[in-house]
């Protein structure tokens, strides 16, 4: 049976089209990689939500386990794990991230 944190993560991912697990908030990112990720999503101009893992240590570990991914930030679009900062950056450079979001919001 899933623990509470996992259930909460599943609900968050299901209920938010674009969700960014990050350190800090979009206005005050607490890590350069989270900041870079937010900058890209703000540039693309689509709405997104974020979860600050620094205020919730259980969730910080929980999301790493859930995604099988050792680092923060982590980005989910339409319930699917997209990756971390490097992947988002690479997808953005190729135009793939814009295409993904265009398709998601169409």
């Amino acid at each position: 049976m899933a623990d509470d944190v996992t259930t909460e993560i599943e609900n968050e991912i299901r209920n938010n089209k674009v969700l960014i697990y990050m350190k800090g908030t979009p206005s005050f990112p607490q890590c350069g990689f989270s900041a870079a990720t937010i900058e890209i999503f703000e540039e693309l101009g689509r709405p997104f939500n974020s979860v600050d893992v620094l205020t919730n240590p259980a969730k910080r570990e929980g999301i790493k386990r859930y995604s099988n991914w050792p680092t923060i930030p982590q980005i989910y679009v339409d319930g699917k794990f997209i990756g971390g900062c490097d992947i988002v950056r690479e997808m953005h450079q190729r135009g793939d991230l814009k295409r993904l979001l265009d398709a998601s919001f169409s």
């Binding site: 990689f33 991914w69 680092t71 997209i82 990756g83 992947i87």
Partner: protein, 77 residues
């Protein structure tokens, strides 16, 4: 405090065909930038590729605070 050579050796062991570039991005021994080119990545998504690298680094991961990662199959860039 870790030397980028440890990362390079560990990845070279896991991906024998790979060209691995590993550098300490801040000089502090815990932020690293890695570029790895290996045929093992062909046909894999970026998420899968990064997961393969994280798995290969295994016991080194907890000592790495930040890892900037670029994974290519030969011919990509």
């Amino acid at each position: 405090m870790m030397n980028p050579d440890e990362i390079r050796r560990s990845l070279q062991g896991a991906f024998p065909d790979a060209q691995v570039l590993a550098e300490d991005s801040t000089g502090g021994g815990d932020h690293f930038a890695v570029h790895i080119v290996s045929a093992s990545f062909a046909g894999c998504s970026l998420v899968e590729r990064h997961q393969m690298v994280y798995r290969a680094l295994g016991s080194l991961m907890p000592r790495i605070h930040a890892l900037q990662l670029k994974t290519d199959a030969p011919g990509e860039s």
